[in-house]
Each structure stands twice: as structure tokens, then as C-alpha cells.
């Protein structure tokens, strides 16, 4: 090695040898991995620039005061402390959102399962029924449906007109703080189509001969339902429950349209995401809104972790 300077051009030295090996290794590494990373390039840019980067910045902003006019001012835990102890709108929003989740998800899944089982009997006209039940799910996210819903449950709306025909005087659903949230629950339940389709797919997987064997043994239909259908369907029920709950936590459009963006009456439809929107884009409290966003993430993460942990005790996977 010490005589490297005296070696003639082209002679193999340790450095050149190592260099060649390294270059070959690099070329091989490049050849093996470059196509994969080139294909991933758009996604990688998006991941760093639009997901990871912004997520870290939002975590930082959640410890600041930031109104977009002046640069963020560090306030430590102040935002979180205020959320936890001194923000009645936060508790209202949390209450509204939890009410929505607790009422809409179970009803939605129950309807979805009942209708899926009714449709899974080899009936004629299955595609038509399936389409009709799925349609509201597909249209559901649009402003037009929220507008329609607002009319349906208005004090002079269709629901009260129908109730009047059987002699009941309905309340003003939309503008009464005790009822307004349940009109939104009803809208969500009306959109049971997509979990229904997943249930249908799950029911198809259950082997027919299990039921035949069970009925030869004299098991009643209810018993077959509790002993065969329900256990074998638990993975699908679990999936639907997790997806629908996360979606329910994130609901926004219907609450915004039906309350005109206010979350009223008396904060009774102030969904969590609506409150976050008001703080960020109404009051320009970007730091505070970032803290709200992170609390939502933590709540969803806790809920998801809890679901997965509990699933060990009630979800049956056949191995």
C-alpha cells in the first residue's frame, strides 16, 4: 500500500481493487433497487412532503400560538391544558361526536347485517335490492343529500307531514337541541349500504353444509344464527365496526350543511371536525386547531388499539 505511488498505470492495487469492488457493489445495488425506488418516487415525495413533514409540523404547531400572520409563538402545553380544563366547546364537541358514534354505528351495522342476511337467501331480484340499498351510501357524502335531509326533518318537512297523517305532531327536529343530533344519526344509518355489501361478501364465505349438518342435528334457526353465522362473521363485523367508527369520528359535511356551519342549535351538532374547522379557518387559531387534531388522532388510535386488543376475545379466525 505504501508503494501505491510507484505502481504503473493499470496495475491492480488494493485501492483500485477495493474501489472496483465497491463500484460493482454499488452498481449491483443500484441495478437491484433503482427500478423499485423510481416507481415509488411520486409516492415517496408525497409521503415526505404531504404526510410526514406536515404531521411533524402540526405536532410542533400544537405547542404554539399561530394565527398565520405572525410566526408561531411557543406556548408549551398551554393549548392542551386549555382543551382539557377550560374549553366548554371542546367538551360539547366531544359529547356530540361520541353520541353520534355510539348511536349511529351499532344501528347502521345491525341494519346492514339484517338486510344482508335477508338478501343472502338466493332471492330473485337480488341485484336490484342490493343496488337500491347501496345507493344512499354512494350519494351520502354530497351536499344535496344534506340539503334534502334538512328539509325532511324541518318543522314543516316531510317527516312531520307523514306523522301528521297518523295524528302525531312532530317536533322541529333540526332546530331542537334534543333532537338535531339524531337526525344526523338517522342520515348515517340510512347509508348502511357499504357495510351491507361487505356483510354479503362475508356471508357467502360461510360453508352451506355447516347449516345442513346443524339442522340435521335439530338446531333451531336462532341457534344456527348464534352458533354458526355470528361466530364465523365476527372478522367481518370487526372490520366493519372499526371502519365505520373511524368514519363516524371524522364526519363533517352533513353537520356543516344542516347547521349552516355553526354546529347549532346550542352546539348540539358541533361535531369534533366542525369545531376543528371553526377554530382553524374561522378564528385562525392554527396552533390550537393542531392540538385538537392531535387529540383526535390519539382518540382514534386508542379506540383502534382497544378494538384490536378486545378482538382476541370475540373475533374468531378459522386457521
Amino acid at each position: 500500500m505504501s508503494n501505491a505511488m510507484r505502481t504503473p498505470a493499470g496495475a491492480i492495487t488494493v485501492e483500485r481493487y477495493q474501489g472496483a469492488v465497491a463500484e460493482g457493489r454499488f452498481r449491483r445495488l443500484w441495478n437491484a433497487n433503482a427500478p423499485g425506488y423510481l416507481f415509488l418516487l411520486p409516492w415517496l415525495i408525497g409521503f415526505f412532503g404531504l404526510t410526514l413533514g406536515p404531521a411533524l409540523i402540526s405536532l410542533y404547531l400544537s405547542f404554539t400560538d399561530f394565527d398565520m400572520l405572525q410566526s408561531p409563538r411557543w406556548v408549551g402545553m398551554a393549548n392542551y391544558v386549555r382543551i382539557a380544563t377550560a374549553d366548554p366547546k371542546f367538551s360539547a364537541a366531544m359529547h356530540v361526536t361520541l353520541t353520534y358514534v355510539v348511536f349511529s354505528v351499532p344501528f347502521k351495522l345491525t341494519f346492514a347485517l339484517l338486510v344482508a342476511m335477508a338478501l343472502n337467501r338466493g332471492l330473485r331480484g337480488l341485484p336490484i335490492y342490493r343496488a337500491i340499498f347501496y345507493l344512499p351510501s354512494l350519494l351520502g357524502g354530497s351536499v344535496a343529500i344534506a340539503v334534502l335531509w334538512r328539509q325532511l326533518f324541518a318543522s314543516d318537512g316531510l317527516v312531520n307531514a307523514a306523522l301528521a297523517q297518523i295524528g302525531i305532531e312532530g317536533p322541529s327536529w333540526i332546530s331542537h337541541p334534543n333532537y338535531s343530533i339524531y337526525t344526523l344519526v338517522a342520515l348515517s344509518v340510512w347509508q348502511f349500504g357499504s357495510p351491507m355489501i361487505i356483510f354479503l361478501a362475508g356471508l357467502r364465505q360461510i360453508p352451506q353444509d355447516m347449516y345442513e349438518a346443524a339442522s340435521l342435528d335439530g338446531a333451531s334457526k336462532f341457534r344456527q344464527f348464534y352458533k354458526i353465522t355470528l361466530p364465523l362473521l365476527t372478522p367481518v363485523i370487526f372490520f366493519n365496526a372499526v371502519v365505520q367508527t373511524i368514519e363516524a369520528f371524522k364526519a363533517f359535511t352533513p353537520a356543516f350543511i344542516i347547521s349552516g356551519g355553526t354546529g347549532g342549535p346550542i352546539n348540539s351538532t358541533l361535531f369534533y371536525t366542525l369545531y376543528l374547522y371553526q377554530e382553524a379557518f374561522g378564528n385562525f387559531r392554527m396552533g390550537y386547531a393542531s392540538a385538537l387534531a392531535w387529540i383526535l388522532v390519539v382518540i382514534i388510535a386508542i379506540f383502534t388499539a382497544f378494538s384490536f386488543l378486545s378482538s382476541r376475545y370475540w373475533v374468531h379466525y378459522d386457521d
Partner: protein
Amino acid sequence: MTEMTASVTAARPPSDITKRSLPGSLIVHALLIAASLLMVYPLLWMVSASVRPETEIFSSTSLIPSSIDFSSYARGWVGLDVSFGRFFWNSLVISLLVVTGNVIACSLTAFAFARLRFAGRNFWFAIMLGTLMIPYHVTLIPQYVLFLNLGWVNTILPLVVPKFLASDAFFIFLMVQFFRGIPRELDEAAMMDGCSAWRIYWKIMLPLSLPVLATAAIFSFIWTWDDFFGPLIYLNDMNTYTIQLGLRTFVDSTSASDWGGLFAMSTLTLVPVFFFFLFFQRLLIEGIATTGMKR
């Protein structure tokens, strides 16, 4: 499997249902028809309200108007200062660009994850699946600040550009699942013949994946068309409004004065979605059934 479902839906004593009994079927059909009518009644009522004479809209719960009158459509179309034609055009441009971006970027990403071998693939794949669970609220504010600083607010760029960077992980996941079902021998043989990864993607994978590309394209279109939150944040100039923002503004400005126009325009905004639903129902339903997409 038919009987036990009947026992639940028809709420009859389970013991007296015989296999595929005619009365059982009839009862289930009757219940399903009643439920179907209840499901579509609000939609049909809205369509019927849009062609009713104004005075008649709230006077009955019936679906059949006494006379058909399209003047609500003409009145509504003129809209506010900006006509609904403009809103439709904006929505159409954004939706088509989002479809293009999603199909290209998500299929590139999915192809890498499903078919290419490279160091760190499993790591990145796990990260990609992780992004499925992050609510968009977490990235919302920094993204808004970023796009504001880029001068993109009040343009369609914040709504469109992220899609070209494969920001819809759902579609990546959907495509990975589909690509994995395509026999490996096909691209392995092509690779032996010296085919580049690009050619395998372009000449083998994409042509064989038309069903999943179509599913992703249709869902992209419908979700973008229906999106309210994105445009609400990024578009403040009425000339840039999408159909959902236009409709919402129309609601705010006319509420309780022009119900006919309101229902007419509401109906129109649903037409493209309904049209896709009618023609691509099978693809949409399979897409939901196999991946459990959110809506």
C-alpha cells in the same frame, strides 16, 4: 342457509319455516320491497319536488306532481352571480384531473410494492398502510400553510397535485391486492427476456388490470365530485367554486325562498354520480366487497 335468515328478518318462530318456503320468501320480499321504498322515497321526492309548480312543493307527501314544470331548473341554473354551468365545469375539470392523477400515481406505487424487489420494500409498504389510518386533520393545517405560501389557494392545484403524488393510499392498497392476483410467471418470463420494469408495468400489468383501474377511477371521480371539505378550504372565489360549494352557497342565499330551484340544482349535482352508479354498479359493488372501502 336461507331459513335461518328468514327467522331473523321475518321475525317468525324459527321452527315452522321450511326450507325455501313460499310464504317465507313472500314475507321477506314484502319486507325488502317496503324497505327499498323507504330508502329511495326521499330521493324520489326530491326529484319530484324539482319538477313541481312552486306552490305545490310542500302541500303533499305524494311523489306524483299534478303537472310537470321545469322552470325550477332554468331559474336555479342561473344561480348566484355565477351560474351553475361554471360550477359544473370546475367540478368536472378537478374530478378528471384527480382521476388521472390517482390512476397513474397509485398504479406506479402499487406496481412497485406488488411486483418489484428492492431493499426496504416491506418497510415502505408498512408505512404506506400506516398512512391509511391517519386522519387528514393532522396534516391539514401545515398543508394549508404550504399551499398558501406557494400561492395555490384559490386555484385547483391543492386539490389536484397531491393526487399525482399518490396521496390516496386506499387505491394503492386496492391495486396491490389486484396485482398480486395476476400470475407471476407472466412478468418473470418477460424479465428473463430482458424486459424492463417499465415495459412490464406498461405492457403487461396495466392492460391486465383494467377492472381495478376502472374501479379506482370511478370511485375517485365520485368522491372528488362529492368532496365538500377540500374545496371549502381552498376555494374562496366564487368563480373557482365546485358544484358542492356552489350548491351550499345557493342554499344559504335562497333558503326558504326558492325551494324549487334548490331541489332542481340538488338533483342535478347528483346526476353524474347516479349515472356512474347505473353503469358501473358491478364494479363499484365488487370494489366495496373486496376492500371494504369506506363509503
